[in-house]
């Protein structure tokens, strides 16, 4: 047995294992659990998104082609969505031809604006 083996305490193995699991999850594209995210002023909106990282990527593309104030966008979204689900609002957007582009990708407007909020630095 190697002398260094004594350094592998139960605590260090647990921490190392945790990191490995986190890296593994990241590698397969699973979002960090919500408790790993810092709170934001927009969590009531962002909680409607399943994949916030993907949404942030899309949001940056929306911002690239528009000038948007996040606070105003969030206020508008709260009014628009209310207590409804994102699916309901997206359906309404599509029915009313309210669309937005993220570097050419055509999305329901509300979804695109939620992505803009997701793209803001915490």
């Amino acid at each position: 047995m190697n002398d260094n083996s004594s350094r592998f305490t139960r605590r260090s193995v647990a921490i190392g294992g945790g990191i490995a699991v986190a890296l593994g999850l990241a590698a397969v594209g699973v979002n960090a659990p919500r408790w790993f995210r810092a709170k934001t002023a927009y969590d009531d909106l962002l909680n409607k998104l399943i994949d916030r990282d993907a949404a942030a990527t899309v949001g940056h593309a929306v911002i690239g082609s528009a000038t948007l104030d996040t606070r105003e966008v969030a206020a508008d979204l709260r009014q628009r969505i209310g207590t409804r689900s994102l699916a309901e609002v997206a359906k309404e957007d599509l029915a009313q031809n309210r669309l937005i582009e993220a570097r050419g990708w055509v999305l329901p407007q509300t979804v695109g604006l939620l992505c803009v909020v997701a793209a803001q630095p915490v």
């Binding site: 998104l49 399943i50 994949d51 990282d53 993907a54 949404a55 990527t57 899309v58 593309a61 994102l86 699916a87 997206a90 359906k91 599509l94 029915a95 031809n97 669309l99 582009e101 993220a102 570097r103 050419g104 990708w105 055509v106 999305l107 329901p108 979804v111 992505c115």
Partner: protein, 493 residues
């Protein structure tokens, strides 16, 4: 069966006097000759080329261009018997009813008649183009039963169908020259001259009718044709050239104007199917089995009216890789509409667009001359920003419908004019230089394809289309030519 006549053997100075002279042996000229077979009309057909490609004859087509980049004028046509069908891809679809209408959002739009006037001729045209059974949009239920279609939500874009001219093993679609040569030789009232180029139109003394047509060969022979009636069927570009050279039919400065083709910008959009693979009939011609058909996505007439767009025919082309943004957009959109996009695949989109008629998109004569001494043409080509924007609006509607159905989504790949122009290709569909209109101040030919102001000169082919639609022209010009044949049969001799 009588052989074709080589015009190079006709003695110089000869005067030929048929009842009807047809100039041009492409799909229009050949259709007209076939349709007038076994009538009392003594017909002569004059084709510039021979039975096969000849570089010296083809070089007669060369010209120059300015503006939006177009195909070289000697590369977008074929100058031998069969004409444009010698490089035809076989894509066929009838014009839509709205294509004939005067549309208040499309300047200079409208035919002198509606699609019902052409309908009686479509069946025969379909047969001449060897397109199989007339199926087109009636194919949907059967094809959907064969393999699932890409479901679209209610809206302005629907799945339509192209049909394809017959392919024989590895031989491409019906080449009218090769296909109908033997039939033409069997027509007792037809003489067909090869290597015979029309070089001038001469009017009679009162300038109320055509007197004669000068003909020349590249070997130096020149002779004259004095027909009772003549039809120019040399293609939209050469018909206009001969009329400009001869200053015939151009009293209102319309000849050569309103030229159009179908722009085919490549990779205009990316379509994602959330379910992944799509049926083969989206990518290639499939057996119906009584016809070969391929799916296309087209705006409905109602959508064209409501959103003031023009015709377009969109095809799904090849798979493309998705970048990080594409993957993120797919995940986000699919989540929002409740779709499973774990197997999503992306495909490039191709299309053919209808252009708005534009009098400044035109051919003019230059001082440069061809081997026969005729002035060469210069094309001034233009595409308006609204032509691109209208197609973008249609694609955006398709994207909306895919999301409504939770089956997919769209990326619009081009936003700027520079992007559109960089991707432009063209259909080799020459349209509109001798447009049809009841008013001589708005059209070169009347509703019967007769040149305004002249009693006995007609124009055949897609050059008379006053508004273009998005459909490929061959089937439609053949139908229009069959209508012209009916008209010519009724003329007094």
């Amino acid at each position: 069966m009588s052989a074709f006549i080589d015009a190079r053997t006709v003695p110089a100075g000869t005067i030929l006097e048929p009842d009807l002279a047809i100039f041009g042996g492409g799909p229009a000229g050949i259709t007209l000759a076939l349709a007038l077979a076994h009538t009392p009309i003594n017909v002569m057909l004059f084709e510039s080329g021979g039975m096969d490609f000849d570089p010296a004859t083809q070089a007669l087509y060369a010209g120059s261009q300015a503006g939006v980049k177009y195909l070289p004028l000697d590369a977008s046509r074929m100058r031998y018997l069969g004409g444009g069908t010698n490089h035809w891809g076989g894509w066929s679809r009838p014009l839509d009813a709205i294509d004939f209408e005067k549309r208040d959002w499309v300047a200079h739009s409208g035919w002198p008649f509606g699609i019902d006037t052409l309908k009686p001729y479509f069946s025969r045209a379909q047969s001449l183009c060897e397109l199989g059974e007339w199926v087109y949009d009636a194919a949907t239920p059967r094809m959907a039963a064969l393999a699932p279609m890409l479901t679209l939500g209610d809206g302005g874009v629907y799945t339509s169908w192209f049909q394809f001219s017959k392919t024989r093993n590895d031989v491409l679609p019906t080449h009218f020259g090769a296909r109908y040569a033997d039939d033409l030789k069997k027509i007792p009232n037809l003489k067909l001259y090869l290597n015979a180029n029309a070089t001038s139109l001469k009017l009679n003394d009162g300038a109320a009718g055509l007197d004669s047509i000068g003909v020349a060969t590249l070997s130096g022979r020149r002779f004259t044709v004095k027909p009772k009636t003549a039809v120019l069927a040399m293609g939209a570009v050469e018909n206009a050239r001969l009329m400009l050279v001869s200053n015939v039919g151009n009293q209102n400065d319309l000849v050569g104007r309103y030229f159009a083709d179908h722009p085919i910008p490549r990779d205009t959009a990316t379509l994602v199917s959330f379910a992944g693979d799509l049926a083969g009939y989206y990518f290639n011609a499939a057996n119906f089995p009584t016809a070969q058909i391929r799916a296309t996505l087209a705006p409905t007439d109602a959508f064209k009216r409501a959103r003031k767009v023009l015709g377009s025919l969109t095809t799904i082309e090849t798979p493309v890789e998705m970048d990080d943004l594409a993957k993120a957009a797919v995940v986000t959109a699919a989540e929002a509409v409740g779709a499973d996009a774990s197997n999503a695949k992306a495909f490039s989109i191709g299309c053919g667009l209808e252009l708005e008629p534009d009098p400044e998109r035109r051919f003019t004569l230059t001082h440069d001359r061809d081997a026969l001494g005729l002035p060469r043409l210069k094309l001034t080509n233009r595409v308006s920003d609204s032509d691109f924007q209208r197609y973008r609006d249609t694609m955006k509607e398709l994207g909306r419908q895919l999301l409504v159905a939770a089956t997919g989504m769209i990326r619009l790949n081009y936003d700027t004019r520079a992007e559109w122009e960089a991707a432009l290709d063209w259909g080799d569909h020459h349209l509109g230089t001798t447009r049809m209109h009841v008013d001589p101040k708005q059209g070169v030919v009347d509703a019967d394809s007769k040149v305004h102001g002249l009693s006995n000169l007609f124009v055949a082919g897609s050059g008379v289309f006053p508004t273009y639609g998005a459909s490929n022209p061959t089937l439609n010009l053949v139908a229009l030519t069959l209508r012209l044949a009916d008209h010519l049969k009724k003329l007094p001799r």
